[in-house]
Symmetry: C2
Subunit: 553 residues, 2 copies
């Protein structure tokens, strides 16, 4: 019995050893599995559906046990499970008909290249575990710095590879990038001063007592990304101190309102340490007047951060980069490469104009990140990090600035086309015009549009509420039917007296999305709406009632 | 001319379109490139060297221009560049001779499986962009919760897939996990109370005034990971408020010292809101007495966090999991899957005992993370995130608990073997014994060991300082020669009167590291040391002087 156990243990050990060993032959089991995965994925990626119709509760059944698997599974068996239960039940976020979120198609060359990242498994926290990946990541940060700030060559020669400096931080995404920017801004605003050793060392409570402020504040448009509230919470500033400033008809922050708020804060002895400009709001795709915000930040001595997580890639377009004028005056800029720079999920960046700014968050440790080293880990919120920068590096080289310009221009122009389509359609209402490649709209039957102009206040509210429900219904039904996907959000359009209104939200960043697809999306929505209005007659009845009253008056 | 430009633009556009399209045939250009990459990586991964000898300044030359590439590059050309300049100049972190950091070999099945993650490019922030990946990630968090807390099945049925709850957060690594745990602890310690709406909303300054504390504190062993200081900075607590507690001869925190400190803080009206136990210190691999710390946390009403980023995987071993006894009483636990769970870089987790704890950091947004949704993004510090949990899921299934146990047991026993080897060698000094698979040691010539026992205080200090230099020299030279890699750190051994001492640090988690390799590592170090002592005679001369004096006395 003991002998049998021992033999079994030996066999298990040998098989464990084998799974860590590089397979010798391309026709090995793993080689065959890889081929099968590739073929399956190719079919999945060529099937232009957004998702299959299956309720989440059904899917959860396949992932319901919290028990750790006690016995090993063959790689081939588990691969089949993943293909059947995970891949087949996944959302095809890169389908040309998936136009709802800021996820897009990936250039196909990234599939083979990402093998390098996975297989080498470098850790960018320090040079000892990353070697050439560290200079590569520093170069990528330099290129992005160059894209935003366009400093002369000697600047990059001096700073790009400088130990103890960093032009920015590569991180998992825009949220960590925004937190990092505000962390730097907070630490610089409450920096060491005489006997006070700075907020990093002594904490916020003592910092506030030392500087004698009543409170801190960060100012941003009411359309600012939700990650900024999270940042205010994490950094100990408090969500209340992230002060939302009104936007105009075009969803741009009203600079005079921000100025008035700054004066008000000053009078109350509250320190506004940062102003944030949004370059591409998440919900409407709008760009704040960055130059004017830069003036304001300068006048009031605030850190000027631009959240260009989504819109920053527009700088690649010589035709449209003027939309972001003023960004070159920002102290820091967030850009997500996994959005309009078309690399896989998990590639955010924050870039700092001044290479010395990040020393406010510098840290060291004995076994790692020693002073004077070129380790990137001494200026990042995260610790261990993968070599993701490599995929952006490859894309920048293979696609090039000109290629990116074409992608950006196409996206913007496609959004203009779609806006025209919506505007010309009698049953749709364009809610926000696209400035970049994002727009919002909703379905309103033509007769109801007319009725809304004739309705009493109560009737109008009833209709608008019913339209909100209808928009939500259409969006859900369209998603569930799996042919295409638009997202939805709630915004406060001027036209509807800033009433919180549910709208469709469309992001047109996928180069494979055709004009035909856009026509089909509208046609499908009309179809769903018609069925819904027949089955739930509230909108129709009230519309009829209002129009009849009008015609008999 | 205009026509030519237009044609050129059309051609560029067509080629852009093509890069986003799935290649039809396996013998396509991309298919050939993928084959070449795989073959190249297989050679790299089979070459058992830690790195090639090339100065960083040389490598930087290949990554020196901050100019954005203006024109596209062929995928094949760029692939060759990457293979020659990036791969060839990378550190082979999974080489069996790379025993210096917490990066290890990856099971080879992860290479094909990671294709699924990259190609599907899901975004776990919300179900609409992840679908089956969300239940999968929730299941992985459930399995890890089960591994730590072993709750009965109905617990997981109730909470694992519950909207508005989360058993933890998957994140990029241990640093974000530790920040998340302390964020939750801080927000719960300074929670809403009467008119005060909580620190998340009102910020730290008001929270402190409301609760009337003089200051906050977090207590941890002096061996705590540097990310905890970063967390204290980010969260506005201040690095000073992370209070290091003395460790004993075995590098475990002295619980009585921690208790004394808690009393001292209490007397000063300072609120210690969290106690951290370390389960596998980064520098010595030691585990704190977790049960006693749990008692203390309970008695003083603190959040009890265990940083098991590295050591947590030991729970997979029925033979050794007793070393972490008491971890099941932690309010939160950090575990890195990219360490001893053998998945690629970028897979950290924080697990919370109580599913309600994370509501302290809950957040929502209009277009995403609506209340009542099962979106994982409402309880994570990060926003958009990749489907990395899938690779851990696959490893848990394919390797299984039994397989992991074998890996963990082998690693620990290999460390004991290596410790024995060092102990038996006349020229080495074992500085910290391995509790898990990590140990520290240094080279000290046998005669110098004798001389140290006879030296005057001044001589001793001179010798120890010279030995620090020697350790550093050996480590660097061994790294540069590229055959093998150990890391180094500085610790304060009891034996040397807590003098800050430079030591080699070895992590033996790679299943392919053989006993022969360990013998070779020592032999190489002896060789390097001998050359160094000949060329820099300080240690030899002083040793001779002391021993001669002794022999003539």
């Amino acid at each position: 019995m003991a002998v049998v156990d021992l033999k079994k243990a030996d066999a298990t050990q040998a098989s464990l050893h084998r799974i860590f060993t590089v397979p010798e032959a391309p026709d090995s089991t793993l080689g065959r599995i890889e081929k099968e995965i590739s073929e399956n994925l190719n079919v999945f990626l060529q099937t232009h559906i957004a998702a299959r119709e299956k309720p989440l509760a059904e899917i959860e059944k396949d992932f319901s046990s919290a028990a750790l698997p006690e016995n090993p599974t063959f790689v081939s068996d588990h691969t089949h499970f993943l293909l059947n239960k995970l891949v087949a039940q996944s959302v095809h976020t890169s389908a040309p008909t998936f136009i709802g979120h800021m996820t897009s198609a990936l250039p196909y060359f990234l599939m083979p290249l990402s093998k390098i990242m996975i297989a080498l498994n470098q850790n960018l926290v320090k040079i000892e575990t990353s070697k050439a990946f560290t200079p590569l990541e520093r170069q990528v940060l330099g290129m992005l710095h160059n894209l935003i700030y366009d400093e002369p060559e000697p600047f990059y020669d001096r700073w790009m590879h400088s130990a103890n400096h960093s032009l920015g931080a590569f991180c998992s995404g825009g949220t960590v990038a925004n937190i990092t920017a505000l962390w730097v801004a907070r630490n610089n605003a409450l920096k060491p001063d005489g006997a006070f050793r700075g907020v990093a060392q002594e904490g916020l409570f003592r910092a506030m007592k030392h500087y004698g402020y009543e409170d801190l504040a960060v100012l941003v448009s009411e359309r600012g990304h939700y990650s900024l509230k999270k940042a205010a919470d994490v950094l100990g500033i408090g969500r209340d101190s992230l002060i939302p400033i009104k936007t105009d008809n075009n969803n741009r922050v009203v600079v005079s309102e921000m100025k008035a708020k700054l004066d008000e804060l000053k009078a109350k002895n509250i320190k506004p340490f940062a102003i944030i400009g949004v370059a591409g709001t998440t919900e409407t795709g709008t760009i704040d007047p960055l130059s004017e915000l830069a003036d304001l930040a300068h006048a009031y001595g605030c850190h000027f951060h631009v959240d260009a997580a989504w819109g920053g890639a527009t700088l690649m377009s010589n035709k449209y980069r003027h939309l972001l004028n003023g960004i070159e005056r920002a102290d820091s800029v967030t850009i997500d490469a996994h959005k309009q720079l078309y690399v896989p999920m998990g590639a955010g960046m924050v870039i700092f104009k001044n290479p010395a700014l990040m020393t406010a968050i510098e840290h060291h440790a004995e076994y790692i990140l020693r002073k004077g080293s070129k380790d990137l880990g001494s200026h990042t919120l995260e610790g261990s990090r993968s070599g993701m920068a490599m995929l952006l590096y490859a894309s920048l080289n293979i696609i090039s600035r000109q290629g990116y310009e074409m992608l950006i221009n196409n996206s913007i122009e496609k959004a203009h086309y779609f806006a025209g389509l919506i505007d010309a359609h009698p049953e749709f209402e364009l809610v926000t015009h696209p400035e970049l490649c994002l727009l919002t709209y909703r379905y309103v039957p033509a007769r109801t549009q007319q009725a809304l102009t004739l309705a009493t206040a109560d009737e109008r509210e009833t209709l608008l509420a019913a339209l909100d429900d209808l928009t939500q219904f259409i969006q859900k039904r369209q998603r569930e039917s799996g042919k295409s996907f638009v997202s939805r959000t709630r915004i406060t359009p001027e036209k509807w007296d800033r009433r919180l209104t549910t709208v469709f939200r469309v992001v047109l960043a996928n180069p494979l999305t055709t004009e035909n697809i856009l026509q089909d999306v509208l046609a499908e929505q009309v179809e769903i709406a018609k069925q819904s209005i027949i089955s739930s007659p509230q909108i129709r009845t009230l519309t009829d009632h209002i129009l009849t009253r009008h015609n008999t008056e």
